[in-house]
């Protein structure tokens, strides 16, 4: 029943950055097919700024860490993913509070707050073929697992599985938000880049809490 420690949450971000760097070209290819070809570049730039800021400020509490991460993303990424992921982390941190560890319920609440922030900022609906189609099921799966009494680590595994499934399901959808929406039916058959970076976000969480 191990709580998620500050160091693990810091590690979450580092792992996400590593995955994004590794998948940069793939993310860009996905975005070239139905967007403007910069999602990989945007995310790598944002996470470089986030880890630089976290390194510089040396925050010691969860709220300060994610405020740093969120602000760094907001002020370095731009585009659609900057405000969306930025809001996600800002809300996550604010909800988590000035603590050094989070139990399963705290974590579920913070993740839920992050996802609600994304929903408010971008007004995506489920099925609009956006990052929200990976994020919403992931956050739901995490909360359900915690409610069933599972550990944060196991819950994060369920969230990762749900995020990946949500990401893959975006292929069949017609985009209704973001640049891909301009393509209408032509967006069908392509996986959404933002859903892919979100799947990596939850995969990183599972790895960090393992």
């Amino acid at each position: 029943m191990a709580n998620a420690q500050y160091a693990q949450l810091r590690d979450w971000i580092d792992r996400w950055e590593a995955h994004l760097i590794e998948q940069r070209t793939y993310l860009t290819e996905l975005d070239s097919a139905i967007g403007d070809g910069d999602h990989g570049t945007n995310m790598v730039r944002g996470l470089a700024a986030a880890s630089a800021r976290a390194d510089a400020e040396v925050p010691e509490h969860v709220d300060d860490l994610f405020k740093a991460v969120g602000m760094a993303i907001v002020s370095s990424v731009g585009g659609a993913s900057g405000p969306l992921y930025g809001t996600f982390f800002l809300r996550f941190g604010a909800t988590a509070g000035h603590v050094r560890e989070l139990d399963g319920a705290d974590l579920a609440e913070a993740l839920g707050a992050g996802a609600s922030g994304v929903a408010q900022r971008g007004k995506p609906e489920l099925g609009d073929k956006t990052m929200f189609d990976a994020m919403s099921p992931a956050v739901g799966a995490f909360a359900a697992a915690i409610a069933r009494g599972e550990t944060p680590s196991t819950a994060a595994n369920s969230a990762s599985v749900a995020a990946h499934a949500g990401r893959e399901a975006t292929a069949e959808l017609v985009a209704r938000k973001g640049r891909a929406s301009y393509l209408g039916e032509r967006s069908v058959g392509h996986i959404d880049p933002g859903a892919t970076s979100t799947a990596l976000l939850f995969q990183s969480l599972a790895e960090a809490l393992a």
């Binding site: 907001v74 585009g79 659609a80 301009y182």
Partner: protein, 329 residues
């Protein structure tokens, strides 16, 4: 990738440095990537601010100056600027009368400008979102249409109105009026190449073209076989006229190049567009032919038509002095 650049990561900073060197009459904040007028507006005059991703030059920095923008904020290539940049520019250009944010309708731009306006504090901000691209169908259930060519005309017209001292509410209303009075449609012969990606965003065979592209290298509405300038003009003008009639009042028409199309072709296309408009009973009162809102090194063009009443035409004719648009002074 064949580009006159150094490292892909430095394109924005270095291009801005060259811009600053070429236009000593403007002020450039290289840290925040903001271009300002050299001479700020008189106190109590509404300021105009725009911005967006890099790669659309001369938009927006090329439109900073008397009679047009007070500042332009640059994001990375095809990426909206961030809220901090926008807040900084807003604070600097405000003369006490408030600031108009001119935003092209892309999710990223809209959200970043929205966050800036929310976090911006006490400066009154009006926002106009330009969404003029008729290529986007089914826009009711989506994020709506893209903002393209009307942005240029709006910056000129509303810039002239601000120079006259109209107040923020009037400026906001005028901007929204202009934004809804125009339509655009674009096409691509080739895909542009993002410096950071190094290869074309989409593959377009020698015998095909994309109709209904935006300005971010997104594929368009549909891919069709190469056609003559006359047919291309029809494919661009007809969806515009189907969306909105322009027969009632004079218009301003822009034939815009996407970055890699030479002027000889743009003029030829303008001739074709004019023939179609003549037949449709649309009067061209003013026109603009050239590269005004581009998409890196994409070859192609777009057509913008704006209904223009007498006030609009007078504002259009008013003096302007920017790097890319200049007359009357």
């Amino acid at each position: 990738m064949k580009k006159l650049i150094n490292a892909a990561d430095d394109v924005l900073a270095e291009s801005l440095a060259g811009f600053a060197a070429a236009h000593p009459e403007l002020r450039v904040d290289h840290v925040n990537r903001i271009v300002y007028r050299g001479e700020p507006k008189p106190h109590g005059t509404v300021a105009l601010l725009s911005g967006g991703g890099t790669g659309h030059e001369p938009l927006h920095a090329g439109f900073v100056g008397f009679g047009m923008l007070d500042a332009a904020v640059a994001g990375e290539v095809f990426t909206s600027p961030t809220p901090d940049q926008i807040m900084e520019a807003t604070a600097r250009v405000d003369t006490g009368a408030g600031v108009l944010h001119i935003v092209k309708n892309y999710t990223g731009d809209v959200m970043n400008f929205e966050m800036a306006a929310e976090l911006g504090g006490s400066i009154p901000v009006e926002t106009v979102v330009v969404a003029d691209d008729v290529a986007v169908e089914d826009s009711t259930f989506t994020a709506g249409r893209r903002g393209t060519g009307v942005t240029v005309l709006l910056e000129k017209i509303v810039g002239a109105a601000a120079e006259q001292g109209r107040d923020l509410a009037e400026i906001g209303a005028l901007a929204r009026h202009i934004a809804t009075s125009g339509r655009s449609m674009g096409m691509a012969l080739t895909s542009g190449t993002l410096p950071a990606v190094g290869k074309p965003t989409f593959d377009l065979p020698e015998t095909e073209m994309e109709i209904g592209v935006g300005i971010h290298g997104e594929p368009g509405r549909r891919r069709v076989p190469l056609a003559s300038a006359r047919e291309v003009a029809e494919m661009l003008v007809e969806p515009i006229l189907a969306d909105r009639s322009f027969a009632a009042a004079p218009t301003i028409v822009m034939l815009n190049g996407m970055g890699a199309t030479p002027l000889i072709e743009l003029y030829l296309m303008f001739g074709e567009v004019k023939s179609i408009l003549d037949r449709a009973g649309v009067t061209i009162a003013r026109s603009l032919v050239g590269d005004y809102i581009t998409s890196l090194d994409m070859a192609g063009c777009s057509v913008t038509i704006l209904e223009a009443d007498n006030d609009t035409l007078a504002l259009w004719d008013a003096p302007v002095a920017t790097p890319a648009l200049r007359w009357g002074m």
